[in-house]
Symmetry: C2
Subunit: 243 residues, 2 copies
């Protein structure tokens, strides 16, 4: 048996997230069926994180333990031909037995995309539409206050219990190109709905509905209701995973 | 009653084309329901052309006759909020009573997009994937032979009867950007499946499977089997309509 790290990319629109769920089609369930078709035996799959229903990934890693002796190129080509159009396997790498897709990850980067102006059907799928251009400078003032180690409990939804709600944000920046606004954040880990709430708070700041120093109050009070809305999943991309 | 020309854009993935069909969801049927919700009365809609199931449009025009006195901006905003995410109304213009979305159109431009290299789930929706980069120069040699007035019967599928199979192509060019190849064609009209067959023939030329002078044989013999494959609909965009 050897341990193989697979890198996937997927359009999450039609999936109830990554993780197996009873009575729901998830990326993991589709990968599981596809791998069994390719390898002829059931294979355990361990993902780098959960992702919510409707969230996309440009890089999503998972590891499998398998006996296969299919050459790398044939494995990639074979698996891609079995997987549906909205899921691709983009890399295959043999790794050490101690390597773990989830626990070996040092951090991740997510990007939340928005667009403003007239409704555009080809943007609707991957961007959250906003009526007017927000103030990028105040959004970046807010983003800067997130950097460092903070208790993000107030920037998360209840529903998934974690003991430790402290996370370390390495980078957070808002960029603007054409009619698009991108909220990009790297951290050592993320709480449930954290990026979608942070992006919603950044947007509220950019629209003048919240002050750019709002994060300090949310960190101190751990009060979800002080932060902005949870933006819908379709604008969110898992962009990079750092090992 | 006034005549209004609407410009739509739509992602055709989930629709059985533009035109009404029994027991199928089409763009026209969705627009019809949405307009009735907005205006409170049934409204006749005349489109600029049929489009096939799964084909997209960045510009698609239709005209309606209506009594509405909703201001332009309110009409656009109201209709867009009723329409699903994959259909947008992008323009509203009062036109003369003699104006006709279909018969007043002088021509259209279609673009067929392909991409090469590794499977990419975000390209899979709007581009046809090819294994390797085709020869763009020979594709353009083929494209140049299409310009002018020709009998395109051999470059069309049977199934829709038209008397006259002669069309005038104004522009046809193949461009290459990043890992994308675009086959772009403007003409005064198009036969059933014509762009998808021409794009498939251009691709066969680019891959060395057909000679770049193949069009002359197809024009002379009117023989569909001499041309290339009909490429799938998801790479095709109605890009512009000329009035």
């Amino acid at each position: 048996m050897k341990r193989v790290l697979l890198c996937l990319a997927f359009d999450g629109t039609n999936y109830h997230g990554w993780q197996f769920q009873p009575n729901a089609v998830t990326v993991q369930s589709i990968l599981n069926e596809s791998l069994e078709k390719l390898l002829g035996v059931p294979t355990n799959i361990t993902g780098c994180s959960r992702t919510d229903a409707g969230v996309h990934a440009k890089q999503f890693f998972c590891h499998i333990d398998c006996a296969d002796n299919i050459p790398r190129e044939a494995f990639l080509k074979g698996l891609n031909s079995i997987l549906p159009n909205d899921i691709a396997v983009i890399d295959y790498r043999e790794v050490d037995k101690n390597f773990h897709a989830r626990y070996s990850a040092k951090g991740k980067r997510y990007v939340y995309g928005m667009y403003y102006g007239d409704k555009e059907p080809f943007d609707e799928r991957y961007y959250y539409r906003i009526d007017s251009i927000p103030d990028i400078r105040s959004m970046n003032e807010f983003a800067a206050t997130l950097i460092g180690e903070h208790d993000f409990q107030g920037f998360s939804s209840s529903g998934r219990s974690v003991e430790n709600t402290i996370r370390n944000v390495n980078e957070c920046v808002v960029t603007h190109a054409g009619n698009k606004v991108y909220f990009s954040i790297s951290a050592n880990g993320f709480l449930y709905n954290m990026v979608r709430i942070l992006a919603g708070t950044a947007l509220a700041v950019g629209l003048g509905k919240l002050p750019s120093r709002i994060a300090n109050s949310v960190f101190n009070d751990k009060n979800r209701s002080l932060a902005g809305d949870t933006l819908p999943p379709h604008g969110l991309f898992l962009e990079e995973v750092f090992y």
